[in-house]
């Protein structure tokens, strides 16, 4: 019995050790070194906590963190609000719900890089249909949206909202269809209006689902890279340089591998904390 269990789990453990645990430990070691494949002076000598000291005084990194925070908070808040409305709307559909759901899930399953490409096409200053729509409304000038820091940041948030609102909506829909009928009927008998039922009865019921959805979205949004890479590349200036774009530049444009590893370890710590919160949340739900 015991041997069978080991035989079933061991191959996975071995592979995860090789491709996950070992690289992570290697990255941790790298963060205490000075290493760059393009700089002969940075040959992998040990420099203690210098990289971490540099991280805390790096104003560009601070800027990237601010951009990431602003983007994550804004995008996830908008997605939650719109997702809630959309989810309730979906739950009230009868005949067309399946079709609507099928169409709504297209953006979030689409290749993230191509999602960035779609908005790049739409917002292209020369031939983008979004550009011409916004221009005819008098909202932007000739240069297009992506030329200004505010415009580019807004485009990023709108793109994320476009891609991920259906995710929250589907979670809300799942929560609503699992909600017990009895309480809703009781509220109806007591003369509650539809709005009151949603606000006072349904919303508290689906709050745990929304909590999990928000946590998932937050951990995903923190690592946003593909869409930004192709849409703005982090510009103009540092307006859309989110954490992962900044790390990419450090590691793969400047090839400062050891500093890049340091930034990665810091991100890892943040994501681990969020995962721990999420795991406790999921377990509590499983126990209930």
């Amino acid at each position: 019995m015991r041997w069978a269990r080991i035989g079933m789990q061991a191959p996975s453990l071995v592979i995860l050790m090789l491709v996950l645990a070992f690289p992570l430990v290697y990255s941790l070691l790298l963060s205490f070194q000075s290493y760059s494949p393009v700089d002969p002076a940075a040959d992998g000598r040990w420099i203690g906590l210098d990289n971490y000291a540099r991280m805390f005084t790096d104003t560009q990194f601070g800027q990237a963190i601010l951009v990431t925070l602003g983007y994550v908070v804004l995008a996830v808040a908008l997605e939650t609000l719109l997702g809630l409305v959309l989810g309730i709307w979906l739950s009230r559909l009868v005949r067309t719900r399946r079709l609507m759901t099928s169409l709504l899930l297209l953006p979030m399953i689409a290749t993230p890089l191509v999602v960035g490409l779609m908005f790049s096409f739409g917002l292209n200053p020369q031939f983008g249909y979004m550009t011409s729509a916004l221009q005819s409304l008098g909202l932007i000038g000739e240069a297009g949206v992506l030329d200004s820091p505010v415009g580019a940041f807004a485009a990023l948030v709108v793109m994320d909202v476009w891609e991920w609102t259906p995710f929250i909506a589907l979670m809300v829909l799942a929560g609503l269809s699992a909600a017990p009928e009895a309480q809703i009927q009781a509220a109806q008998l007591d003369g509650c209006s539809t709005f009151q039922i949603y606000w006072h009865v349904m919303l508290p019921m689906i709050r745990p689902v929304i909590g999990v959805a928000i946590l998932f979205r937050a951990t995903e949004a923190i690592r946003m890279f593909d869409q930004v890479y192709i849409l703005t590349g982090g510009g103009p200036g540092s307006a859309t340089t989110v954490n992962d774009i900044f790390q990419y530049r450090v590691s793969f444009t400047a090839f400062d591998m050891s500093y890049g590893a340091t930034l990665g370890i810091a991100t890892f710590a943040v994501v681990m904390t969020l995962t721990w919160v999420l795991f406790r949340y999921l377990n509590r739900r499983g126990a209930a």
């Binding site: 019995m1 069978a4 035989g7 079933m8 789990q9 191959p11 996975s12 592979i15 995860l16 491709v19 996950l20 690289p23 992570l24 790298l30 494949p37 609507m100 099928s102 169409l103 899930l105 297209l106 953006p107 399953i109 689409a110 290749t111 890089l113 191509v114 999602v115 490409l117 908005f119 096409f121 020369q126 031939f127 249909y129 011409s132 476009w162 995710f167 589907l170 979670m171 799942a174 929560g175 689902v209 999990v212 998932f216 951990t219 690592r223 593909d226 890479y229 992962d244 790390q247 590691s251 793969f252 591998m257 890049g260 590893a261 990665g264 890892f268 994501v271 995962t275 999420l278 795991f279």
Partner: protein, 293 residues
Amino acid sequence: MTTTDARVETRPQRTEQPRRTPRRAFVTVLSVLVPAALMLAYLSPIVWLVLTSFKNRVDIFSSAPTVFFTPTLANYVEAFVDKGFTENLVNSAVVGLASTLIALLVGLPAAYSLSRASKGEGFMMALLAARLLPAMVLAVPLFVLASNLGLRDTYAGLIAAHLTFALPFTVWMMRGFFLAVPVALDEAAQLDGCGEWGTFLRVIMPIVKPGLAATAIFCLINSWNEFLFALVLTGRETQTLPVAIPSLITPIGTSWGQVAAVGTVTVMPVMIVAFIVQKHIVAGMTGGAISAE
């Protein structure tokens, strides 16, 4: 007071009923048209990309956005016949199939075993962390290690990198499907003389086949969509489709039609397949951590 008011209100309604029918029809039409128009607007970025891929250069750059134009396949021919994007397509398929196959072979027994174990929470937590881990955190060490081991620009290097998310995903997702199978079945099989492997292979696996199909499809989609690992670990020989797209966009003279064609070919298989696994989409998007049905 209130009762008379109500009566006053209901009476005209009743007399007006025949006259209201066209208005009601109008409302019905609106309730179909408005959501349809909103949905079209919502999906317009996808539609625009696909439309652009069938336009020639003049139609793309026409001053007003054009919806009606003479479609051309020139962009597809140029990208996939004249230029080497078919190779990228093959690379994407090879890496996707290989990483999915390995993840399933190795991950299925582990998922089954974990679903039947009372302990193993630490393992599951580690797997969830692996699923949510930013790819950038792993990209740096994987790049340095692959460079040192000579695995850059090889299938093996990229497949190994894709296993970092494919394997944790498979275990989480399949564990959910295994948990749904009553343990009584295992016990019955064991009474009949099946060992743990026999129970798993001959009794439990046939039951979870639909779940297995969904998991495999999501593994393929995730690998197909992956960009960062492919960007830093591949070179000329092994570039996947998503990596090939940015290389087409240059400050001087981008052939937008070709970009759109390659983008469309990248995204279409995923969107078509998504309809098959629609039921499991929430579980798929959350790495199997949440199964909403």
